[in-house]
């Protein structure tokens, strides 16, 4: 086994200093920069000590994936190539992670769906790969527009799933995500999601950590399962392969391993809370009306709250940052005073509202909406109208929605 030593304070070949991750993220000076979301992904990766990145074009993540290629050409990434499809890319990511590399990739919409068979395999093999999901529509007829429905398919894969609202979330969570994912007691992949275009293609001021600091390298020998590099004894893994065996030992083995994956998701809770400062953020949760949302629906919710305040309606806000681990206890607490809970979402099925309904008492308080989908924007006025209608207040009629 390669010698385990601290790299903190030493320099990589680009002259960046391996820095204690907590200090880098929480104490190092920040530099405000005006960047698109895609550029922010690149800047996060510049500081991530990433060994392997594998790319494939699909809107709206293509720009970020190509920008990371530029980082590779500059020498910041160990290896980089374009795979042949998302299914292949996610398998290539798995191969690199089995071989002990810190691995990063990006995908979106139909690409996420095409690759889906890989995700439970990643979790089951305890591979701490980070995958950016810049959500877009997956429906037919073809759409490339923002839509968050693909997140719902990721929720039961055993992956950690976070939903960023802003480019700043994105920058911080990419780097912090590696720290949570790679904890020996977690060691699971992370799907770091954002709403495509709204975050990837808009510019925002983002406070970056110094470019001459980077994360400590990944140490594959802290993994709870052996790294496949022939640097530790190649013991026979099992006396009989469990596949094909129809007996109690086989069932028990598979059952306990699945339970272990979800126990690892559970164990990620304390690390996630520490690194991203809680699974949710709240404002004014003593109000009778509360909006619970994730992603850019949170931003639209904030605007709606401002409009409602002008009309004398006080409304609280819950921003859900992590979907796996699921902040059940936090949401129960934050909504305990609410008589009406609104869940605005950028998808047609309302998966977040369903999760919340399954979590809190008196779930009839949950108004699953408003929903937009297929690339529609969500003007705050729609949220205001939904809330006022539910409260029995007179609401201006909105174009296309009747009165």
């Amino acid at each position: 086994m390669a010698e385990i030593k601290s790299h903190i304070g030493t320099q990589n070949k680009k002259g960046q200093t391996y820095t204690d991750a907590w200090k880098m993220m929480n104490e190092a000076p920040r530099n405000p920069s005006f960047y698109t979301g895609s550029e922010v992904i690149k800047e996060a990766l510049r500081r991530a000590s990433c060994d392997v990145m594998i790319a494939y074009p699909i809107t709206p993540q293509s720009e970020a994936a190509a920008l990371i290629g530029e980082l590779f050409a500059e020498g910041y990434i160990g290896d980089y190539f374009r795979g042949e499809s998302e299914f292949a890319v996610m398998s290539q990511c798995a191969g690199a992670a089995f071989g002990g590399a810190r691995v990063f990739t990006t995908t979106a919409g139909p690409g996420t769906m095409r690759a889906m068979e890989n995700f439970p395999m990643w979790a089951g093999a305890r591979l701490p790969i980070q995958m950016i999901v810049t959500c877009r529509g997956i429906n037919s007829p073809l759409s490339i527009q923002p839509d968050t429905i693909e997140i719902s398919y990721l929720l039961n894969t055993g992956m950690l799933v976070w939903h960023a609202e802003t480019a700043q979330d994105f920058f911080d969570w990419i780097l912090k995500g590696f720290m949570v994912s790679e904890e020996p007691e977690v060691h699971l992949p992370l799907a770091l999601c954002c709403d495509g275009f709204f975050v990837t293609h808009t510019k925002d001021v983002v406070n970056l950590t110094p470019a001459d600091m980077c994360l400590p390298p990944y140490d594959p020998y802290r993994s709870p399962v052996p790294c496949m590099d022939m640097e530790c004894p190649p013991v026979r893994m099992m006396r009989d392969p469990f596949i094909m065996k129809s007996n109690y030992i086989s069932y028990a083995t598979h059952a306990s391993w699945q339970q272990e994956i979800w126990a690892a998701v559970e164990r990620s809770r304390k690390h996630t809370i520490k690194w991203i400062n809680g699974l949710i953020e709240t404002e004014n949760t003593d109000a009778e009306v509360v909006i619970v949302a994730s992603g850019t629906a949170v931003s639209q919710g904030r605007e709606a709250i401002r409009l409602l305040e002008d009309e004398g309606v006080r409304c609280g806000l819950v921003k859900v940052k992590s979907l796996r681990p699921w902040p059940g206890e936090e949401i129960r607490e934050a909504t305990k005073n609410a008589r009406h809970i609104f869940v605005p979402e950028f998808n047609v099925t309302g998966w977040l509202a369903k999760e919340i309904k399954a979590t809190i008492p008196n779930s009839e308080r949950v108004h699953a909406g408003p929903h937009v989908c297929g690339g529609m924007t969500m003007p705050p006025e729609i949220i205001v109208s939904e809330i006022k209608t539910a409260l029995g207040l007179r609401s201006e009629s909105l174009a296309g929605r009747g009165s």
């Binding site: 398998s91 191969g95 496949m228 022939m230 530790c232 026979r236 596949i243």
Partner: protein, 300 residues
């Protein structure tokens, strides 16, 4: 990996399984001239397996594992099928993840090992069935070759889906009646060795596993060429005696019958120019080494 790494603490020696004790004492990790002739006098890198009695695949596994030039630094990648019943009993690190993605896994793996161990040799060898290689995984098989990924792909060609009970596969012969080919297979056996050559493989061999010395040479060449130059492809006939209605002792004869000059597994080989040059260099070095050893033995 150094052989030191698999040594057992004396305090724990007696509680280790006997197959592990054997591995430490007499496996051929690091032996320069390892080959099929070590079988019987050393601990093989395959423990008991759960294949059918007389399955030619088990012979193939034993010869391949005895022939890897560098097993102490080799990682193997498998796929779903009969081979996945064997890999848990193989004493080199190996990966099973999904069905058909083996060449994608190997691409990522080889690159990760190259990033992590830039100054050391780490060989990657894919071993999968014909369904995984040619049907469900063909895209990833070919794309790894197009990209010139430096690893060996070995296909165990039993001309059908054996593990699921004998369904038609792309490498099945035309006209063969099987499950999912109820009136006989309607199209020709896919000519993957030729496709491999056109796709950029530097060493391609199509043969059976009836002769262990031949398997040894082919496997050794394929790994050494992949390490230095680029992708290599070996297609080995390992008939499924169960599904073609043969008895346990008839596998070897089936292979001998199928490798006659006019048959579909007559020995075929393609070697690219750079690969030929490498093999010539290796042969010259080998000759030099043997001559030096002989001289040394003469002096002694």
């Amino acid at each position: 990996m150094s052989k030191e790494r698999i040594k057992i603490s004396p305090d724990l020696y007696d509680i280790m399984p006997s197959d592990y004790q054997d591995l430490v004492q007499s496996a051929t990790y690091g032996k320069e001239d390892r080959g099929w002739k070590d079988i019987g006098t050393s601990k093989e890198l395959i423990e008991q397996h759960s294949l059918c009695a007389g399955c030619p695949e088990s012979m193939a596994f034993r010869y391949i594992l005895a022939s890897l030039p560098n097993p102490e630094d080799t990682v193997m990648v498998g796929s779903t099928g009969c081979t996945s019943l064997v890999f848990p009993m193989v004493a080199v690190h190996n990966i099973h993840s999904l069905f058909g993605n083996q060449n994608a896994i190997a691409s990522g793996l080889k690159r990760a090992l190259s990033v992590r161990f830039p100054d050391r040799v780490k060989d990657v060898v894919v071993l999968a069935g014909d369904g995984a290689t040619v049907d469900i995984g063909l895209d990833m098989t070919l794309q790894a070759w197009f990209r010139q990924e430096k690893f060996t792909t070995i296909c165990f060609d039993n001309e059908l889906y054996a593990n699921t009970g004998g369904q038609e596969s792309g490498l099945m012969q035309k006209g063969f009646v099987a499950k999912m080919a109820p009136v006989g297979k309607l199209f020709d056996k896919v000519r993957l060795p030729e496709i491999a050559r056109e796709s950029g493989c530097h060493y391609v061999v199509n043969c059976t596993v009836s002769k262990p010395s031949l398997v040894e040479k082919v496997i050794r060449n394929s790994v050494l060429i992949a390490r230095e130059i680029g992708p290599t492809y070996i297609q080995l006939y390992t008939p499924c005696i169960l599904e073609i209605g043969k008895n346990s002792m008839e596998g070897l004869q089936e292979m001998r019958d199928s490798e006659k000059p006019t048959e579909r597994f007559a020995y075929k080989e393609y070697i690219s120019e750079p690969a030929k040059q490498l093999l010539a260099e290796l042969a010259a070095k080998d000759k030099e080494r043997k001559a030096a050893a002989k001289q040394l033995a003469g002096k002694a």
